[in-house]
Amino acid sequence: MNDPDQDLIAQAKIGNKPAFGKLVSKYYELVYAVAFGILRNREEALDATQNVFLKVFHEIQRFQGDSKFKTWLYRVAANAAIDECRKKRPVEPIEDEATFETHEVSPREAASRKEIRELIEKTMDTLSPEQRAVFVMREGNYLSYDEIAETLQIDIGTVMSRLFYARKKMAHALGWKLKDELK
């Protein structure tokens, strides 16, 4: 498998810290996005991100190259964040769309990114950690369906259904604003 990180991984395996530092620099935001998307808390996401990289560094010998390093890294990050999320505060996904609250705000307020951010955060909170993981990987990290399926070790159908559900929620929350404000 042609992995663009192959050389850095080989060096990291023999204990080359700066080489692994380059991998940290390259993937920090992407791992943080997964952790933050799932955990929905900055402090916890930062801790989880750090723990993921330290764990990966110490266990990099276990990486055999069967998949891309990025995929393996995301899998470690997503599993760690989902486990942490379940351990701390089990989330009951809100299935009933009628219970989702949207703020009736003026178009001017809604135009601000802050408002949109709040709506996204509120919508994310209504999703399960697994749905959030799929949504973040697709919308934030631009992974393909196949990559998401491989990363989370689920089939593509599950990826698509979770993504569909998450998008539907997001569209419901942001729909009229997206239609009116976002260009």
Partner: protein, 150 residues
């Protein structure tokens, strides 16, 4: 722009704001420092010059130290006669009975190359023993101070 793309854009902005927060940037910097390269000593050929210079200096100082070390002045064991002491004034005097006895003792075993002279001084009678030892004359002066009268 359809809803899907708008959601993607909105979420991208959402994450972009999150990444640009100072807390996230600081956490990334702290983590990267854990994997930064430590300054390790690496031998370079150019280092041979200062190393050899240092070695040369050490060897030079080791060998030169005995030559340049300061002399230690040992105070003289024999007291130096200064101007204040009265100089010995040699003058011929009558040979006393004591000096005659000493002369007799000395002359019994005195070799021919030794010259013994009796002299007198203000301090008291003195005898000068002279020998030309291997072209290095030896002179010994015995002085018998007079008894101090109370």
């Amino acid at each position: 722009m359809n809803h899907e793309k708008k959601i993607t854009k909105a979420f991208k902005d959402f994450l972009s704001d999150e990444f640009s927060s100072a807390q996230v940037k600081r956490a990334k910097k702290d983590l990267l420092q854990q994997f930064s390269a430590r300054p390790q000593f690496e031998w370079k050929p150019v280092m041979i010059v200062p190393v050899l210079s240092l070695m040369f200096m050490v060897i030079l100082i080791y060998h030169m130290y005995p030559l340049v070390k300061p002399e230690i002045k040992v105070p003289p064991v024999v007291p130096v006669i200064t101007e204040q002491t009265s100089p010995i004034k040699v003058k011929k005097v009558k040979v006393s009975s004591m000096t005659k006895q000493i002369e007799k003792i000395i002359h019994t075993g005195v070799p021919s190359d030794v010259k013994v002279t009796r002299v007198s001084s203000d301090i008291g009678p003195a005898m000068v023993y002279q020998k030309n030892y291997r072209d290095a004359p030896i002179t010994i002066v015995w002085v018998f101070p007079k008894e101090v009268k109370q």
